[in-house]
């Protein structure tokens, strides 16, 4: 991905003309657009518009800054699901600066950055992975002798929009966990004058990044965001409400210890610490790595990594979420269901009852466990 050589594109050529030349049929392209439409939750009415918008695009410039981070988010984007056409669409961009794969180094790399920023002022998309350490004058991350903060501010000034990929760029992530020794903050604590999209997760699923860029190119604006800057098409629902093990939860069928009989049946992981009930994430729907599996699907509790300050609010990871408002029904289902689940048929009944009650409560907008942003290092918009 991001390899222009694999999908050479002539200057000034539209995507439509380019695809023709590359032997990608209009049918294939529309099939891809349909899939993207589905991921974006737009409904099939939008497919023609998406196809039209993409086909007319020239290659917009993308500048990718890697700041204080582990590079896991870059790796995640390298694993995006659509192997052929997905690469093509990501290749809609001209990636002019990206540390991990660019050929140039040192002065030549920095010259490429300055050049790109100057030539595409007001037009380019800025992608950021990694947090910005503010403590002690920013000395905890420097590139070419300059601090991460200075580099980000300079690159953000001329950007049309900013996409913050991963928990580090979102809110500071593990660096910002108690006691946040380097004063790490996310991008939206620095960039205030233009939209910042937070692709949450440690790391996020690469496909969410793809879809967000497609959205931006198609509609000329960033997708609708939740209270925390996360695109609703991906982060609009709790894991708990989309989980294939939800029926087990409602029926009181819980794993009590790893590798017990319940684990071998693939039952619910709530009792061994699953944070799905407090986590908004597309994991159960998008799945990971070309839709192979996902954490809960592989038998491990969710760590809650799409929520701010999860290293402090979701730990201990194997501790059960506390009883908070909103869990009353489930707790009831827990006890009630466990009694009934002795008989298999009764388990199904319990599922139906608990799910119905839960949905009623959801409709009444009863509170669920929200993740407080009381940790150090600056919450959303510096609170």
């Amino acid at each position: 991905m991001y390899l222009p050589t694999s999908h050479a594109w002539a200057e000034g050529e539209s995507l439509g003309a380019y695809l023709d030349k590359r032997g990608v049929s209009r049918r294939d392209f529309l099939a891809f657009c349909t899939e993207m439409t589905a991921i974006l939750g737009l409904g099939s009415m939008m497919t023609p518009r998406l196809a039209q918008a993409l086909a007319a695009q020239k290659r917009p410039t993308v500048v990718w800054l890697s700041l204080q981070e582990c590079t896991g988010c870059v790796e995640s984007v390298l694993r995006t699901a659509e192997p052929t056409i997905g690469d093509l669409v990501l290749d809609v961009v001209s990636l002019d600066y990206q540390h991990n794969i660019m050929a140039a180094a040192g002065h030549h790399a920095e010259a490429a950055l300055q050049d790109t920023i100057a030539k595409n002022r007001g037009e380019y998309l800025l992608v950021v992975t990694g947090s910005v350490p503010l403590a002690d004058g920013g000395i905890y991350t420097t590139i070419g002798g300059r601090t991460a903060k200075v580099i980000l501010e300079e690159a953000a000034t001329g950007a049309k929009a900013v996409i913050a990929i991963g928990a580090c760029a979102h809110w500071g992530n593990i660096q910002a966990a108690r006691p946040n020794p380097t004063g790490a903050v996310g991008v939206d604590a620095i960039v205030k004058d233009k939209p910042v999209v937070n692709i949450a997760g440690c790391p996020p699923i690469g496909d969410v990044v793809t879809a967000t860029i497609v959205h931006f190119l198609t509609f000329g604006r960033v997708p609708a965001l939740d209270y925390d800057g996360r695109p609703l098409f991906a982060y609009g629902a709790r894991i708990h409400d989309q989980c294939p093990k939800r029926a087990n939860f409602d029926a009181g069928q819980f794993v009590e210890a790893f590798d017990d009989e319940a684990a071998r049946k693939g039952w619910c992981l709530y009792h061994v610490g699953c944070k799905g009930p407090a986590t908004y994430s597309p994991c159960p729907i998008f799945l990971w790595n070309t839709r192979t599996s996902w954490p809960i699907g592989a038998g491990h509790p969710c760590l809650g990594c799409t929520e701010r300050h999860f290293w402090d609010t979701m730990t201990p990871f194997y501790g059960r979420l506390p009883d908070v408002a909103g869990f009353g029904v489930e707790r009831y289902a827990d006890t009630f269901g466990a009694a009934l689940a002795i008989g298999a048929a009764a388990g199904v009944a319990a599922h139906a009852i608990a799910t119905g009650v839960h949905q009623m409560r959801q409709r009444r907008k009863l509170p669920v466990l929200e993740t407080p942003s009381q940790g150090q290092g600056g919450g959303h918009g510096q609170d």
Binding site: S6, W9, E11, T71, E75, A112, I139, C202, K265, H300
Partner: protein, 571 residues
């Protein structure tokens, strides 16, 4: 001729933030400094946490080798609490880690290292028929036709013609140090692209056992992925078949693409077998325990130490002889800057004394890096594929010996050629072939055990903290793709009281110690090292990339008393 000061910052095509400064004279490098310019403080953050959570925290040290800190952490905690994991869990960890090696080494070769040797622009003038002829001579890979290479070249031509060069902007194209004929450059460019699709496929093994990649999930006491052939939600025959086929595809690509490409390209750069050797001391903690992690005899890649390039003697490794120094690092010790501390006594106070940013040079500074300087019995040690292959070779590992011999014969060079930039890159390939083949052995053992009725993946005897001693400490070793790794954990009142990691890139990127001994990057850069055009430091990239730097790993501190003290002296 006057000395020229050279700065390469950022070093790109690596993980993290690395700066190299050097001095060059008459086309040679005469002095070098390696600087880590990022600090994250993860071990400070781990204090007071549940030891069972530690793997997730340390895993976030690096998202490239996303397995290694998690497994090392599990091993350290399991050592401290005397937890024995089931054989299945050990095999699953080997499969995950083995695939990490194979995938990571291939990505390193094509996407991080290749552009140091491959001139992309030169591929434009290749005759695709020549490329196909070369490829067919060395490999059975199906994509070896003239048509295929012409297609790749056409894409490249259109791309270069567009004027938007993207990631290839400002490369050192046309530099005289590029030696490959156009046809071989085209071969490498084609496989650069193929490897991108391949890596996405084979790494799904992590997703099956760990739920995702990067950052798959692990578990103290075993693995969370239960085995039940009769459930759709666990490891079952469908999942096993997927794994089996992924291993087969991994092996095919390694043997039919990576290995032949490596040998073909190396043949044009034989002079690099005499450049960039460095310290001459090599450390391997060993990896892939095939029985008990506590038994070094069961390690597939053996443990040991080679000193002064002497392959006839492999010395035993003792973790007690590891100490870290801060003479050149932005930290202070209560015993003074010249003291060396074992990780169990590790203490750290970050103390930045460098110039106030923005700055130009660090080479005149006494302290110049966020990396500490680990030393083994006082010596700087190189770690990584070369160290492991040398230790394996010296220990009589049959597979390693055969492949080392194949490389030396093909290149018509003697064993001394191994101690070099080229040797490092070749060793990574040798290791990849060995491990890709070994994955099948582990897979077969795994299936045989399940067939025999053993489906256990977790030992929960010590899961409950009430069963832990009031105080415990443990050591978890692991040899990662980039080299020897150690985690040292101390647990008090069921919480982490001290956590120290000594990681591959700290060994390799370490700055000078109190004796002034250079770290391995620095020593390699002044070992018969050319630099023809100081404004286009291609040769520096070759040697630094041959180590496969992973900088996020390198910087870590946890104060013994829990108090982080940071003071900053700004010039």
């Amino acid at each position: 001729m006057a000395k020229t000061r050279v700065v390469v910052d950022p070093i790109t095509r690596i993980e993290g933030h690395l700066r190299i400064e050097a001095q060059a004279e008459d086309g040679r490098i005469t002095n070098a400094w390696a600087t880590s310019t990022q600090f994250r403080g993860i071990e400070i953050i781990m204090q007071g946490r549940d030891p069972r959570d530690a793997w997730a925290f340390t895993q976030r040290i690096c998202g490239v080798c996303t397995v290694v800190h998690a497994v090392a952490s599990c091993r350290a905690v399991e050592d401290a609490l005397d937890i024995r994991i089931p054989q299945n869990a050990n095999t699953i960890r080997n499969l995950i880690h083995g695939m990490q090696f194979v995938q990571d080494h291939v990505i390193h070769f094509y996407h991080l290292h290749a552009l140091d040797w491959v001139d992309v622009v030169s591929a434009l003038s290749a005759n695709p028929a020549d490329t196909a002829a070369i490829a067919r001579k060395v490999s059975l890979w199906p994509n070896n036709s003239e048509t295929y290479f012409r297609e790749v070249q056409n894409r490249l031509k259109t791309f270069v013609g567009s004027g938007q060069l993207g990631i290839f902007s400002n490369g050192y194209w046309g530099h005289p140090a590029y030696k490959l004929p156009p046809a071989v450059n085209l071969l490498a460019v084609a496989h650069y692209l193929e490897a991108l699709d391949w890596q996405r496929d084979v790494i799904r093994l992590h997703t099956i056992f760990g739920g995702k990649n990067p950052h798959p999930n692990f578990l103290v006491g075993g693995m969370a992925s239960a085995i039940n052939l009769d459930s759709r939600a666990t490891i079952n025959a469908e999942r096993l078949t997927d794994i089996h086929d992924m291993i087969a595809r991994a092996q095919r690509f390694v043997e039919q693409v990576y290995w032949p490409d490596l040998l073909a390209i190396a043949g044009f750069y034989k002079e690099w077998a005499g450049i960039g050797g460095g310290t001459g001391n090599y450390l391997a903690v060993g990896e892939f325990p095939e029985a008990d992690v506590r038994d070094p005899g069961s390690l597939y890649l053996p443990r040991g130490i080679i000193l002064s390039k002497n392959l006839s003697k492999v010395w035993p490794y003792d973790e007690k002889l590891v100490k870290e120094y801060i003479t050149s690092s932005w930290y202070e010790y209560s015993k003074g800057d010249d003291a060396g501390l074992h990780p169990y006594e590790g203490e750290t106070k970050a103390k930045y004394t460098g110039p106030k940013p923005p700055w130009t040079y660090l080479q005149d500074e006494q302290k110049y890096s966020w990396m500490k300087a680990p030393r083994y019995d006082g010596r700087p040690m190189e770690v990584g594929p070369l160290a492991r292959m040398l230790v394996a070779y010296g220990s009589g590992h049959e597979g390693a010996r055969a492949l080392v011999k194949e490389v030396l014969d093909r290149l018509e060079v003697g064993p001394a050629a191994l101690f070099s930039t080229l040797g490092r890159t070749a060793a990574r390939g040798i290791e990849t072939v060995l491990l890709a083949r070994r994955l099948s052995v582990w897979y077969d053992q795994f299936v045989a055990r399940i067939k025999g009725g053993d489906t256990s993946t977790f030992n929960g005897d010590k899961w409950d903290p009430a069963r832990w001693p009031a105080k415990a400490q443990g050591y978890g070793y692991l040899d990662a793709p980039r080299g020897a790794l150690g985690h040292w954990v101390q647990i008090e009142d069921r919480k982490i009281s001290r956590y120290q990691c000594v990681v591959p890139s700290t060994w390799n990127c370490s700055p000078r110690d109190k004796q002034g001994q250079m770290g391995p990057y620095e020593a390699a850069l002044v070992d018969h090292h050319p630099l023809v055009k100081p404004d286009q430091p291609l040769e520096i990239l070759r040697t630094v990339h041959s180590f496969d730097p992973c900088m996020a790993c390198g910087v870590h501190v946890l104060d013994a008393t829990g108090g982080l003290v940071t003071s900053v002296r700004v010039q």
